[in-house]
Amino acid sequence: MPEAMLLLAVFVAAYVGFAALAMSQDRHWHHVGGGRHCPRRTSLVLRCAGWALLFAALVLALVRDGASFGSLLWATVITVGALCVVATLSWRAHWLRPAARLLQHLG
């Protein structure tokens, strides 16, 4: 069971990480209901969070599967996560709207 949970965690970290990176771009920030341009500070925060989450996904994958399987799992799962972000932005962009709103309030 912890195996499955860890796998899910790797995926979620990769997915949220890429979602943050996507939202830091003006086009997607606008698309998920932010303003025309993603404010500089928000963009920076999103980028840092995105990279940190991708790194967290790597750590989780290494913890789960060790060096060789872990790195392989990470390299492939992040692609799956990124493709899921693309699908979300294309068909379910409103899922990310609350996050954008929250960031606007904070920023």
Binding site: T76, A82, L83, V86, L89
Partner: protein, 511 residues
């Protein structure tokens, strides 16, 4: 300069894609299926839908088959032992008439009836790396050429992509077909790049001795066997012609296990069965590491004495073995297996959308100028994409329709299945060129109907319907394949419905 370089890369990307895309799609598609080759075997050969053997079995049960191989003077006798994915023992030897493949039930020792199919491991998997063209190794070289082209396509694709980071997550399904296909091509290409590049590179590295023969030919004076003996450490005895016995299989297997601290065994392989100089090679099962090691122990056949054994590899080979292992996925990791399957499909989408973009960006111009290029390439695309899928499903359908032992026109059952595959594939090209307006839609309908029929036929001929398949652990591979066939059928049906709606809209507009 920059513009000129980009333009030439664009030219390279476009034309190597158009010329080799069909071949690449076939290789990617078959490779994606080969991820589940043993599961496909279980679907196509119902006699090996066995529960996993509960107790350890005696290898001595294989001695009668070994005696048959020895009597036939087969050069080798090879036994694939059960794994997590494979419940039956696979035995192979060679007779005057050709190779003989048999499955053995490890629980009872019974030799199972000939399934009469090449299945996933002997049709789909070899198609992936040599296209079943054996003459002069042409199949290997074509796949190698396609592999090199894929690497060039990956690199040139990155160079000609104008906004790689801005468009990193961009897919706009509501845009015009031209933009939509380019988006999809870019997204699957850029996001899948690490996997697609590595899987292609590792695929080429597996066959390095074929593709880059000069290195070992120079060093070993062209003596391939001597080179392989050094690289892989094989013990290859010369046949004496004197008859010789074979010591206890189980004793040698126990000794091999002891050498590797109780590790499980992957295969048993005898050179010169029945000869006074026979050698028994026993391979170690390494499901727990990425690297595809080739640890093996060698025993003198008649006495059963250990000749040599190997654990671990030399540095250069270990890199090659890691890349091979990454490609072969013989390790036990179900999450990665499914991810490989998904990313393999993404590769198929990448290649197909590349074609579609080429077509969409030229369709109007070619129609105005009266050029035939679009029509030719569109037929090529349809045959390579939906035609390949239909041929594959046709292979599954005919497998469930032919009775065991069937033969026609001097071809046995397994050959008939393969003929069906190629004829259906060929027919799909003919159909695509004959009816360019409706071919996509009609082939999608065909695909949907045939994939559903395959699931239905599996139920009728074996009784293993989806619910039954899901409720027994040893039938999960069968249920999994049924589910994927149904999902594929649904996607094909949705695509066909949308295409027919679009063509109706176009008709109304033109009227």
């Amino acid at each position: 300069m920059e513009q000129g370089f980009r333009a030439s890369m664009n030219w390279l990307h476009t034309w190597s894609g158009v010329v080799l895309g069909g071949l690449l799609f076939a290789i990617f598609w078959m490779g994606t299926l080969a991820v589940f080759d043993r599961e496909i075997d279980r679907w196509m050969a119902p006699m090996i839908r066995l529960p996993a053997a509960e107790k350890t079995f005696s290898l001595e049960m294989l001695r009668p088959l070994y005696e048959v191989a020895a009597a036939a003077k087969s050069p080798t006798f090879s036994v694939g032992l059960p794994t997590d994915r494979d419940a039956a023992i696979r035995v192979l030897w060679r007779e005057q008439s050709g190779p003989v493949h048999r499955f053995v039930d490890p629980g009872t020792g019974a030799v199972l009836p000939d399934p009469g199919t090449l299945g996933g491991t002997r049709f789909i998997f070899p198609f992936h790396y040599m296209l079943h063209i054996r003459i002069q190794n042409i199949g290997y070289w074509l796949v190698g050429l396609a592999g090199m082209a894929m690497m060039a396509l990956c690199v040139s694709g990155v160079i000609i992509h104008r906004k790689i980071f801005t468009d990193f997550f961009t897919f706009r399904p509501d845009r015009k077909p031209r933009r939509l296909t380019l988006d999809l091509h870019n997204v699957t290409g850029v996001l899948g790049l690490p996997f697609h590049f590595l899987i292609t590179l590792s695929g080429l590295v597996i066959f390095w001795a074929t593709y880059f023969p000069s290195s070992w030919q120079v060093t070993y004076n062209g003596d391939r066997q001597a080179f392989f003996t050094d690289a892989y450490g094989n013990v290859i005895p010369k046949r004496t012609g004197e008859p010789g016995g074979m010591a206890s299989f189980d004793a040698m297997a126990a000794e091999a296990r002891r050498l590797w601290d109780g590790s499980a065994l992957r295969y048993v392989f005898v050179r010169n069965p029945g000869d006074a100089k026979s050698v028994m090679q026993i391979g170690r099962l390494d499901e727990g590491i990425v690297s595809s090691t080739y640890d093996a122990a060698y025993f003198d056949g008649p006495t059963g004495a250990l000749i040599s054994y190997r654990a671990g590899t030399a540095p250069v080979m270990s890199a090659q073995r890691f890349l091979s292992g990454f490609h072969f996925i013989q390790f036990r990791h179900w999450s990665l297996r499914w991810i490989y399957f998904g990313l393999g499909l993404a590769g198929c989408v990448l290649i197909a959308t590349g074609y579609l973009f080429w077509l969409e960006s030229r369709r109007k111009k070619h129609a105005q100028l009266g050029l035939r290029g679009v029509r030719i390439v569109e037929g090529l695309t349809i045959g390579s994409v939906t035609g390949m899928l239909i041929a594959t499903v046709g292979f599954f359908v005919v497998n469930r329709l032919l009775p065991l032992g069937a033969s026609a026109l001097g071809q046995d059952r397994a050959a008939l299945e393969v003929w069906t595959f190629y004829l259906v594939w060929l027919a799909s090209f003919g159909h695509a060129w004959a009816r360019p307006q409706r071919a996509w839609m009609e082939q999608c309908w065909t695909l949907a109907a045939m994939a559903s029929a395959a699931v239905l036929l599996n139920w009728i001929t074996t009784g293993d319907h989806l619910l039954r398949g899901l409720s027994y652990r040893h039938l999960w591979p069968v249920a999994g394949m049924d589910i994927l066939l149904l999902v594929g059928a649904a996607i094909a049906a949705v695509a066909a419905l949308r295409l027919s709606r679009l063509s109706r809209i176009a008709q109304v507009r033109n009227a």
